[in-house]
Amino acid sequence: MNPAALPLLDQTVLVLAAMALFTAFALLAQTRLTAAIHTFAWQGALVAAVAALTGRATGDAHLYVSALITLTLKVALIPWMLHRLVRRLSLERQADPLQHPALTLLAGAGIVVFSDWVAAPVAHFDTSATRNVIAISLAIVLLGMLMMVVRRQAVAQVLGFMAMENGLFLAAVASTHGMPLVVELGVAFDVLVAMVLFGVFFLQIKNSIDSLDIDRLSQLAEPVEDDARGDAP
Amino acid sequence: MDHFLNPLAHALSALLQPLLLLAAAPLLVAWIRRVKARLQNRRGAPLLQPYRDLRKLFAKEAVVARTASPLFRAAPYLVFAATLVAAGTLPLLSLRLPSTAVADAIALIGLLGLARFLLVLAGLDAGTPFGGMGASREMLVSTFAEPALLLVVFTLAMTAHSTNLASMVQTTLNAGLVLRPSYLFALAALLLVAIAECGRIPVDNPATHLELTMIHEGMLLEYSGRHLALMEWAAQLKLALFAALIVDLFLPWGIAAGFAPGALARAALALALKLGVLGALLALAETVLAKMRLFRVPGFLNLAFLLALLGLLSHVILEAAT
């Protein structure tokens, strides 16, 4: 539809959503961890803004709350924790180049098209202006998964995971103007705990294989000759 | 025909016919040897020689191997008895034979099988190499001969719709002289089987010991005295039995329907004639043929089996009597 027909508020929402999608691509392509963390923080901020604006547009108050939660969690807390971890594990300088950047970005574009194709009929019977955001949020979710597939760095994978969460939140906001509060809180709690656990695992993995390259976490393969395995009952 | 007309006559016929065959068996063997001798331009032994041999053996002491079990001593009596019982189910002179109801053609073959079973065990009993060899070979021969024999009986039984020997003979008589392909095949098969079963040339050579190809004699090697006599007599009886079987099944003409003395006399004459001719033929065959190597024997018997099968099939295909 023609954006010009929309009120300014909705136009802004669309713009922000588009920028969130862009940040997803940025995350996908970003090789430096610290930079990636920053990008992730920005994505969180954009999503939070979308939530706030939608709340403004529709005027239901609890969207402000969830926007606030997102802001604290995805923009402040998690990036801060990741930063601490990266510093503690001295990974600032570490780069994690993609094997096939062009291919990856192409796949990302394909995913965007695909998610639009999937979401179109869904969005079709919704009337609200923000319906096309559904496609974008779906794209962000899938891009997050794609990122987890292509990134070998544990931290990067966590970022992908969190990006998925962002996409989910965006979807919730855009399509349904937010989930019921209790669910929001539950989700937020889970994300927080998950983040803490991720932190624990970084340390454990670092201790056990002295690196966060998860491709080296593959001794549980099942070679045909033998499960080369220890004997811990 | 009612089996229970006049019990005494039946009992007599059931008693006398096998005894007659038993008495005639050595004579038949002697006759064959005699004809053979003549064909080979020898004078040959007198016809009563086999009787003399038997009498001598009965009179001599019997030596039993220390390694043998009681079965070794029991076997001759059982083998002799089983063969005689088998002979008892065979109508020779009169069709009025109650014992045909006791055991039909299949049971007859079974009884011969019983005799062979015991004979082979006896051969194994002493634990001597020759005995084992004879036993093993005897089982090889019987493995092929017995099915062929059964098939022959099947062919005839399917024509007669009965396995009762008297009824089979009766059917053949009633039908008169009919040329049946199945009968020709069956006859050929039966002749081959008879040669094999009775251990005649070219399957076995009754006249030799120590020849590596011996079968029947190998099993009797440890026997002596009365035991040997019984075994030999049983073998002769078996030969006569097969001859009589051939006669009964394929050319029964002349056999008496009742107990009329005249008919019986005629039957006896006819039987003697037929057996004589058969014996002469066998002698001729043994003169012109040579003893086979053991492993050509299965081929020989497969031929018999094949002939019998052909007889059966040709009966089903050509003479389907439905």
Partner: protein, 491 residues
């Protein structure tokens, strides 16, 4: 309602309590007591539900389907706690887990039970999601309890894969909510209440519902262990402490499958009049059959005993999924019954496996030998458990497989052939591995251990009873659940 609170929140309290408790000895017993208490509550609850139908409260709803799983969960939780008390002591004495680790274990054990029970009793799909995610969070640290590299790796995979899966499930939930908003007047209030949605399901938008179902299926299916989403399962089962494997196989998979079934019910109702009414059923059948066959094949030539049995779990979950997919009262009844007997048998087997690995100090199959010679109770327990899980009568699994096969024979005759082949292959894989472990001479220097076979005997006896005579009460109970799911009574 009190029964419900007692059942669900006992473990919650237990989690906090055990988290603070220092003495390992007391912790073990307390763990036991709490499970027993929770089981008592569950039975009470079941009595309530069977007496006066579904118990519903603010965002709680317990009907025949859930209460039967609640009782099962509490029961297996109890028996496993009985086993884990001495077992964890032994592990502790082996210096493989620190005192703190032990405390974490007990606390998280209760936490896990809490999430399971919450997921089963809640009516709010959002809370259901939160609970299932919580189950992951509660168990992931237990998988890495031994701190070996393999354990950490397994835990990481478990965490990542299930996390991603659960995220997809959340997207599905959002889509569901999205659909609800256009069907429900007061979506904001109870737009995620399953019962409310089920009531208006026919008015839910089919397209949205099918998209939602795909996400939910992939999401919760990851936790069910459906192929190809199953990869985390063998690792997590084989590396975690054995009691954990028992409850994972016996409970977590069931609860995830329960979520899938709930979603299927909604989707079926919503798609009833669309172009593809049986979409959900067909998807489930496909996933179920693939999982069943792949797992059956993967059972061949295993080297690790716990991996072996985790693949067997995948196989049986596939069978149940297939059964629910076939639909119809008979198949549904069979699947429900299978859920029950499989949970009982499999947790019993894992308990025995725990003892077996304890005896031979290795979980490599070629090092476990001559169990019957060393400790007949363990050997026979393992052998009989495997015979039961392989579907031999007179054990209950035979009954459910018999019903499932006959239902398939009625609905999809030709699908019985892959089922049959799969069963044979799975049997071969199990027995060629188990036979050398239990039979034969015992290797030198292998001694019996102090094993508490009570739970195993209890559970196998139950399975045996279910195989010989299905009690009328239980049948009636399952039949109510069947009626809920398939809409028709079987009896």
């Amino acid at each position: 309602m009190n029964a419900l609170l007692l059942t669900v929140f006992t473990p919650l309290a237990g989690m906090l309590l055990l988290g603070t408790l220092r003495s390992a000895r007391v912790a073990g017993w307390l763990n036991l007591a709490l499970c027993a208490l929770s089981l008592a509550g569950a039975l009470w609850l079941a009595a309530d539900v069977l007496a006066h139908g579904a118990v519903a409260g603010d965002s709680f709803r317990v009907d025949a389907l859930s209460v039967y799983l609640v009782v099962l969960t509490a029961f297996v939780g109890l028996t496993t706690a009985i086993f884990s008390r001495p077992y964890m002591r032994y592990v502790h004495e082996e210096k493989r887990v620190s005192r703190g680790g032990l405390r974490l274990y007990h606390s998280m054990y209760q936490g896990f039970l809490f999430t399971m029970l919450l997921a089963l009793t809640t009516d709010n799909l959002g809370i259901l999601w939160v609970a299932v995610e919580g189950a992951t969070l509660a168990t992931v640290l237990l998988v890495s309890l031994y701190r070996t590299p393999a354990a950490i790796e397994a835990a990481w995979k478990y965490f990542i894969l299930c996390g991603v899966g659960i995220a997809q499930a959340l997207f599905g939930t959002v889509a569901l909510y999205f659909a609800a908003q256009h069907a429900l007047p007061d979506a904001a209030a109870n737009g995620l209440s399953w019962s409310a949605l089920y009531a208006v399901a026919p008015r839910l938008e089919p397209r949205v519902m099918s998209v939602a179902f795909v996400f939910l299926l992939v999401g919760y299916g990851t936790k069910v262990g459906l192929v190809p989403l199953h990869s985390w399962l063998p690792d997590a089962h084989s590396e975690g402490p054995t009691p954990m494997s028992a409850v994972l196989s016996g409970l977590l998979l069931n609860v995830a499958l329960y979520a899938v079934v709930r979603m299927k019910m909604l989707t079926d109702a919503a798609l009833a009049h669309s172009a593809t009414p049986a979409l959900a059923g067909h998807l489930l059948m496909g996933f179920g059959l693939v999982s069943f066959l792949v797992a059956a094949i993967s059972l061949q030539r295993r080297r690790d005993i716990k991996r072996l049995f985790s693949y067997s779990s995948i196989e049986h979950m596939g069978l149940m999924t297939f059964g629910f997919g076939v639909g119809g009262p008979l198949a549904t009844f069979a699947a429900l019954l299978h859920m029950l007997v499989h949970a009982l048998t499999k947790s019993a087997i894992f308990i025995t496996v725990g003892h077996a690995t304890h005896i031979s100090r290795s979980q490599r199959i070629e090092r476990i030998r001559g169990l019957i010679r060393t400790q007949p109770a363990v050997g026979w327990g393992l052998l009989i458990g495997v015979a039961a899980i392989a579907g031999f009568p007179p054990f209950g699994i035979f009954t459910s497989e018999f019903l499932l096969l006959s239902a398939t024979m009625q609905a999809w005759p030709w699908l019985t052939i892959p089922l049959m082949v799969g069963l044979v292959v799975a049997f071969a894989g199990l027995f060629r591995a188990v036979q050398p472990m239990v039979f034969g001479a015992a290797p030198p220097g292998q001694y019996p251990v102090r094993a508490n076979m009570l739970p195993v005997i209890l559970q196998l006896a139950l399975v045996l009873l279910l195989g010989i005579a299905l009690p009328g009460l239980l049948a009636h109970w399952l039949d109510q659940a069947t009626q809920l799911i398939s809409g028709r009574h079987l009896l």
